[in-house]
Structures are given as C-alpha cells and as structure tokens.
Amino acid sequence: MLARRSAARGLLAAICVLSIISWAPQSTASSAAPPIQVVIEPDAGVTPLVNFIQGATHTLDGEIYAVSSNAVFGACKPPGAVM
C-alpha cells in the first residue's frame, strides 16, 4: 500500500514537472542580427545609407569620392541646423 502511494506520488510529481516544462516560456533561440546586410542600388535608394548615418550615436568616420545627395546632407546635419 505504502509502495503504491509512493509510486503514485512519484508519477504525479513527474506529471507536474512535465507540465511545468511544457508551460514554461520557450527559450528563444538567439536571433542575432545578421552580421552583413546587402544594399543593392538603385532598388534600395537612400534609405539604408540615411538610416546608417542617423543610427550613429557617438562617432561617424568615412571617406567618399563624391557627395551631393540632399538626403545624405540632411541626415548628416545636426537637428535644427538650417541648410
């Protein structure tokens, strides 16, 4: 009798553990951003470059052969500056 009770309790405990595992939030796989994003023009337009410029928080260093895009100038200038 005692052995049966013990077995029943063990079974119940196992079910509870399984239930807890089943209901526990699924551990999300690490979905890190891909290290490289490809930008294809002319389809992408100015948006990827403008977003990149505006995403800089401390420093932005670069070299360029020619720049004349008003969208790029606008992204580079500080907020409030009048062009």
């Binding site: 294809i40 023009e41 470059l49 401390h58 260093d61 360029i64 004349s68 790029v72 200038k77």
Partner: protein, 195 residues
C-alpha cells in the same frame, strides 16, 4: 562627431565640383578634409564607420545617381574587425599618413588590393562572376584567362568600352581568339549616367 574625407577633384572636374559639399559639411556637420594628398592618387573609397562598430561600405557615391539610378552594391557589416580596419584606414588618411600595413579584414588599395584579388581568383574552383565599372588591369585579366583555361566559368558584366577593349586585347595577345570564341562572357551595358 562626424569626420569625412572627400575627394577634391571628383570626375576630374576640379575642386569646384566638390567645394559645395566640402563647405556644407564643414559648416553644418563637423570636420571635413580633402583626401588623396600624399599616399594615393584619388580618394575613391566609399565607406562609413559608425561608433567604431558598424561599417557601411559600398561602390556607390552619395549622389542621386549613386543612390537611385546606378547599379551599385553595398554592405552593412557589424563585424568589429571590419570596423577596426575601416578606422585604421580612415585615421591614416585623415592624418595624411601612409598606411604601412593594410589590415586583413578589408581589401585596401593601393596597399595590396591587386594581390588580394589575384589570390581570390586563384582560389576559385568552379566559377568567377565579376561586376565592375572597369576591368583593365593586365595581371587580373591574365589571371581570369588562366582560370578559364583551367575550366572555370568566367563571366564579366561591365559598362565600360575600355574594359571590353582591354579584355579583347589581352585575349588576343594571349590566345589570338576573341572573347566570344574564347568563352568568356561579357555583357556590354552602356553607361547611361555618371557615377
């Protein structure tokens, strides 16, 4: 803080073509300097490093045609090694110093780019696809011909008559056969707009 190095004479047009951008950036953005004074001929690079951590590098100039009309390819890379390499190149150019050893994470011209490209060609096993505004370097053309001789499929898209002429000439010099007969495919896409 924004720091930009600009080419002073883009398109061979003299500084008046770049002065408006220089003046705007100096007035509104931060620090700007002309490049190409000492260590190289032109600043033909196109890249940005944000916060020393993210890199935007591409073939496009930041013009309306470069960002909305031309076929251009760019990469946004979060690899810190690429960002560090970009900063090394930038700091050398910003300070008008020679880049004594090119970083491995990026291919830098004129500091060993040809050797890196030749190495890439030499390690291809099946095919080589090239999309370039100009292809006139004899060493690279010879390497492509050798790859084709070895059995690789070699395809070139170029809008440049000079590139096509160069490919033709080198094919003729090496094999006395035209590219069409030789098997190297080249697509002549006429330039419709400036870079």
């Amino acid at each position: 803080m924004v720091r930009l190095v600009l080419e002073q004479q883009p398109y061979g047009m003299g500084s008046y073509a770049a002065d408006p951008a220089y003046n705007f950036l100096q007035t509104y953005v931060g620090q700007v300097r002309w490049g190409g004074q000492l260590a190289f001929r032109y600043t033909h690079a196109s890249y940005l490093v944000a916060d020393g951590a993210r890199t935007f590098i591409g073939s496009m100039s930041w013009t309306d045609t470069g960002l909305g009309a031309n076929r251009e390819l760019g990469l946004i890379d979060t690899d810190p090694r690429v960002a560090s390499a970009g900063e090394r190149v930038f700091n050398a150019d910003w300070n008008q110093r020679k880049l004594h050893s090119a970083p491995n994470a990026v291919v830098v011209s004129p500091d060993g780019a040809r050797a890196r490209i030749l190495s890439l060609i030499a390690t291809a096993h099946k095919s080589i696809d090239i999309y370039t505004e100009r292809l006139t370097d004899p060493a690279i053309i010879r390497a492509l011909i050798a790859s084709h001789d070895y059995g690789l499929q070699v395809r070139v898209v170029t809008p440049s008559d000079a590139s096509l002429a160069s490919v033709h000439r080198h094919h003729l010099q090496v094999n006395d056969r035209s590219p069409a007969v030789y098997g190297c495919q080249s697509h002549d896409r006429r330039r419709q707009d400036a870079a």
